[in-house]
């Protein structure tokens, strides 16, 4: 077939308006069969932001100051570091990110020397997105602390800890050393192309080193454009109260919360959509 020289260089897709129904990159159009320049660059920007989120170090000083003021903390936050020295090591040795370095462990042991027991230890961890932690920690903890202080039960909170180069399981070691009944790990999740700022929440009852995933509960995708901060705090608070009542966490609690989600989100079995409408 001969080529029409008057045809446009970039062919738009008439179904581009389907973009209103999904965040997927549909209807991008094409130059030949390739991505138009504007769409290529939009992708590159999103990937650059996600990569920066992985490699950008946590500003511990700023976060500590912000949390101390926002939460009106009476004692200083404890700053800890995992066994992974830097990001390159962190990415290749997940086992190093799961435990504290010697200095941090000693620091924590001194801080916990009073033998006081706590109801909850909150551990803020950079994980794979310091951006997520930097942006979402203060609003989330603001909501949570308010719920805890207005609850009928009393909640004794352990000193707030901030961990660099950490993975989820490091919270179990910290919670154990602090004599806490439960630990909340707030950690930057693996950044997606359209979600470089996603925070994950993990809770363990009776934390100690060596526990596996089946002992933890997770609330994921906490960010302004994902699971709203307020709603995440509410769901975590309910989970925490239930853990305290049943004295457990993990699979047994998780099953109940998933049932809730099922009823709310996908009880309708309808497959109706525009492709098969008639």
């Amino acid at each position: 077939m001969a080529h029409d020289p008057s045809s446009p260089i970039v062919v738009e897709n008439p179904w581009e308006r389907l973009n209103a129904f999904t965040d997927a990159r549909i209807g991008l159009g094409r130059a030949g069969v390739s991505l138009p320049t504007s769409k290529l660059l939009a992708f590159q920007l999103a990937h650059a932001q996600a990569q920066d989120a992985v490699h950008c170090p946590l500003d511990v000083e700023a976060l500590s100051t912000e949390l101390t003021q926002a939460l009106d903390l009476s004692e200083a936050t404890l700053r800890l570091h995992s066994h992974a020295q830097d990001r390159a090591m962190y990415l290749q040795r997940p086992d190093y990110g799961r435990r504290l370095n010697d200095e941090s462990r000693e620091h924590l042991q001194q801080a916990a020397a009073s033998q006081q027991r706590y109801d909850l230890a909150v551990v803020v961890v950079d994980g794979l997105s310091a951006l997520a932690v930097q942006q979402n920690s203060a609003p989330f903890l603001g909501s949570l602390y308010q719920m805890l202080s207005s609850d009928t039960a009393d909640w004794q909170l352990a000193p707030l800890t901030i961990v660099e180069q950490g993975r989820v399981a490091i919270g179990d070691e910290i919670g154990g050393l602090l004599n806490a009944d439960a630990v909340l790990v707030m950690i930057g999740e693996r950044p997606g192309l359209s979600s470089p700022d996603s925070l994950g929440l993990y809770m363990t009852w009776a934390p100690e080193p060596g526990l596996k995933d089946d002992r933890r509960n997770c609330i994921s995708n906490v960010r302004p454009a994902g699971l709203q901060i307020e709603e995440a705090a509410r769901r975590f608070f309910l989970l925490l109260k239930e853990a305290r009542q049943l004295k457990l966490s993990g699979v047994k609690l998780k099953d109940r919360s998933e049932d809730d989600v099922l009823e709310g989100d996908s009880a309708s079995g309808s497959t109706r959509n525009f492709l098969v409408a008639d």
């Binding site: 077939m1 965040d23 209807g27 992708f43 086992d95 693996r190 099922l262 079995g269 959509n273």
Partner: protein, 471 residues
């Protein structure tokens, strides 16, 4: 019986305590083997291990199991199913000679088909460790593995795609939008396959119905699959759901698969159940498996083996159940297993080669995560190399961005690029459909239609006015 291996290079002597250690140390470097503590300690030790490995007779792998026969049902599968007659033409070879033979003009496509049942996963893994990337490509291209359900996949000169319309809340309009986008870019002949966001039977059945309705309405010569646990799909079949393909992630050790919640008997049951539905029109391959280096180590089920050998053993599991598609999701697992673009590329070529040599219909999810040292250029390179190597299928997703699984894989555009530069085509039945539906002006030159095809223009008139998905 188990033995140790010694050699001397110059003034240094090297000792490898077991066949597993020798295999691991002969493996090109990658972060997962470092994490497992099985990697060679120096570049020289790696090449020395390769030299020792090259001298081993292939029969070594029949006499010495890397994971004991008594402990692992996959070892038993490999040993019990080994075809001595098929093995006869290569029985006398060492691993090094095996590389020469594979590259030689003796090993034609027909000959490779005849010997495949005589090759064990460990033999394939061992020889791959001695091969350069071009060797892996050249030999894989000679291997022919063709499968069929509603179309024929893996024919020479063809490159198929899985249309992957994932959505973070399984919203049906959102999924339908991605399906339409893919079909109009010529994607979806390998399968239309959804990873469900909510992973249970009810949700899976709903998504199966959604895809079945689309396939029937537009009479698309392709198949659908919901990538849920095999036991969920079995339950869906009992409920009367329209199941084309049964999905399962598989690994190369019994302990890996137990951590995934199934064993070989589960897969046998699933294959029989799906075949009993008789939904295929041109073939009866009903299984879709996914694999990937690092899964056994991740499950702490690797028995001290290197990750590539574990991966190759997964193909023994796959070939037992006559799959339509086997997909190595090469860069999904993250940089602690494959650190960067170079390691991902090498692993993708190894997996494709080993699978094809063993007779498995290999495709590849050419992909990376945002915490790996990789980017679109690395994926372009691997896609092109796999296209040259005759890979059966790749993924197709809108703009490379999986908004549910949060990783990047090949786009609808990428597949058309590969088909254009390499002169590859979709599966023949699907190719005819693309032309009949006027999705392409000229399918032989990969010229898409600039106008919206009539059947789909009609569908777009049924779009709801208000978006239903959240912000």
């Amino acid at each position: 019986m188990a033995q140790t291996y010694h050699t001397t290079v110059g003034s240094r002597s090297y000792r490898f305590a077991s066949l597993a250690e020798l295999m691991a140390k002969a493996t090109p470097p990658r972060s997962g083997d470092r994490l497992a503590g099985v990697m060679a300690e120096s570049a020289e030790e790696r090449v020395v291990a390769q030299m020792v490995l090259a001298e081993l007779p292939l029969t070594t792998f029949l006499n010495e199991a890397l994971i004991p026969y008594e402990e692992d049902e996959i070892t038993r599968l490999i040993m019990d199913d080994h075809d001595a007659d098929a093995f006869a033409p290569i029985r006398h070879l060492t691993v090094g000679d095996f590389r020469n033979w594979l590259l030689s003009d003796h090993a034609t496509s027909d000959v490779l088909t005849e010997v495949k049942a005589g090759i064990t996963p460990e033999m394939a893994a061992a020889v791959s460790k001695l091969m350069r990337n071009q060797d892996l490509i050249l030999v894989a291209k000679k291997c022919r593995v063709t499968t069929a359900f509603r179309n024929t996949i893996g024919l020479p000169g063809r490159l198929s795609t899985r249309l992957q319309p994932n959505h973070p809340t399984d919203d049906v309009t959102g999924i339908a939008a991605s399906i339409l986008d893919g079909l109009l870019y010529g994607s979806g002949d390998a399968v239309i396959g959804i990873n469900p966001a909510t992973d249970n039977v009810a949700q899976s059945v709903k998504l199966m119905r959604l895809m079945d309705e689309v396939i029937q309405k537009y009479q698309i010569p392709t198949q659908s699959c919901v990538l849920t646990h095999v036991t969920n799909t079995l339950e869906a079949i009992e409920q009367g759901a329209p199941v084309d393909l049964v999905f399962q992630s598989i690994g190369g050790t019994e302990a890996t698969n137990r951590s995934f919640g199934f064993d070989l008997s589960t897969l046998a049951e699933a294959e029989a159940a799906a075949q009993s539905l008789n939904r295929g029109t041109v073939g009866r391959n009903v299984m879709y498996f996914e694999t990937g280096q690092g899964s056994s180590l991740s499950a702490d089920a690797h028995h001290g083996l290197d990750q590539q050998t574990c991966e190759s053993r997964a193909y023994a599991v796959a070939r037992k159940f006559n799959p339509l598609l086997v997909n190595t999701v090469v860069g999904f697992i993250g940089p602690e297993y494959l650190f960067d673009g170079k390691e991902i590329t090498r692993a993708g070529l190894e997996d494709h080669f080993c699978g094809k040599l063993l007779g498995v219909p290999m495709g590849c999810d050419v992909c990376y995560t945002n915490h790996a040292e990789a980017d679109q250029n690395d994926m372009d390179n691997l896609l092109t190399l796999l296209g040259v190597a005759g890979c059966n299928f790749i993924m197709g997703i809108p703009g490379s961005d999986d908004i549910m699984l949060n990783y990047q894989t090949t786009s609808f555009h990428d597949a058309l690029y590969a088909r254009r530069v390499l002169g590859l085509k979709a599966a023949p039945e699907f190719e005819r459909w693309l032309e009949e539906m006027q999705i392409f002006q000229d399918v032989s030159t990969h010229r898409l239609n600039d106008q919206l095809p009539a059947a789909f223009a009609n569908s777009l008139r049924h779009l709801p006015k208000e978006p239903r998905h959240g912000t």
